[in-house]
Symmetry: C2
DNA sequence: CCAAAATATGGTCAAATGACCTTTTTTCCC
DNA sequence: GGGAAAAAAGGTCATTTGACCATATTTTGG
């Protein structure tokens, strides 16, 4: 997958041999719109890298409503951390929003790669650190921002996703009703 | 610090020598109520372990309001991840709620420990994984739960903190007004 | 290209929430 | 122990938000 080679080249100094080796262990998978990669209760067996398309990770609340935890567009990683780390049943779902292409590494293979390739490990740690920071930021926003501020922040953070996502998923990500989101957008048009 | 020895003994198989070595690199610090360990804009230089007392980490929103990101009681770790990892200015504050005792390791020292002691590294990775999972859970709750549900969940998760925290900090942690929290508690008494 | 489904907008209304204020109670610390 | 400060509770009111409904618009996949 050129996409992935490109990705690794720009952020690590892994050589061609290593990159090819990493790729050789990956399972290539094509996903149609709305196809699931992981369902609640299943074990998240793979590290997932999105080469093309767009995935979403979402949880289900007590009342059955779905809430988007993360969007994963091309060139990003995703998984259910807890489930993957311990190979236990997951509490979240991962599904394709657009037709997508992903690379999958079984945990044992990826663990081997991590212990063999320090550059890959460094990259992993960076991603984890970023993940934790992003989560904190999101919690802070969820706690303190008004719906309008949340939407503005979303636009700032993901300008490229704006046109690719149905509004109700954005609302779900922001934790507001679609009605409120529509109202905000109307108010903005009038300015 | 007995507290810390105890902690390490119960979750790793580090031997006495290792534990003493880890402890020998730690700075012991006493904190009074409301004393700050980190302020926004400063660099988070240390890994922090709380041996006694209770700390809080909080962020400041655009309008100046404070929002609690984490409570760290005795036997828990805390820090500003992003700031610590990159030794850059922090976006959050850490302060003592109760009179507390903490152990501090400068990043370089702790990094050395991590590369020397695989058991410590394993523990770290576990903590990180848990951290990420907790964050997800908290985001999901923030997005989907009613104030009452949030409070119930808080009681479930931190029964021991309930009596130690002023209500306005719980409200701040849950992202609801103190008024709403008071109302919920009144409603519960009447049952 | 077309029918069906998904998505977005709009209207109305009740309820929940926060802002602002005062009063009561508790805690702190000298 | 006592005075000051902090915390909790209570009252009132305007506003925001979501639920529920219908309708218009767009997208999708065969």
């Amino acid at each position: 997958m050129d996409e992935f080679e490109q990705y690794l080249r720009t952020r690590t100094d892994l050589n061609d041999g290593d990159i090819n080796y990493i790729l050789s262990l990956a399972i290539h998978k094509h996903l149609r719109r709305n196809e699931f990669l992981l369902r609640e209760g299943e074990v998240c067996r793979y590290k997932i890298f999105v080469t093309k398309g767009l995935l979403r990770t979402f949880g289900t609340a007590a009342d059955g409503s779905e809430h988007v935890l993360q969007f994963a567009p091309e060139h990003s990683w995703t998984l259910d951390v807890e489930s993957y780390d311990r190979q236990q049943p997951a509490h979240s779902n991962i599904a394709a929003i657009e037709t997508s292409e992903v690379l999958l590494w079984p945990k044992t293979d990826f663990d081997n790669l991590l212990s063999t390739l320090p550059q890959l490990k460094d990259l992993s740690l960076q991603l984890i650190s970023r993940n934790i920071y992003n989560s904190r930021q999101r919690i802070l926003t969820a706690l303190s921002a008004t719906p309008e501020e949340k939407y503005q922040e979303f636009i700032q953070s993901f300008p490229n996703l704006l046109t690719r996502l149905p509004l109700h998923m954005i609302a779900s990500y922001l934790g507001i009703s679609i009605k409120t989101l529509t109202r905000i957008r109307q108010a903005q048009l009038r300015r």
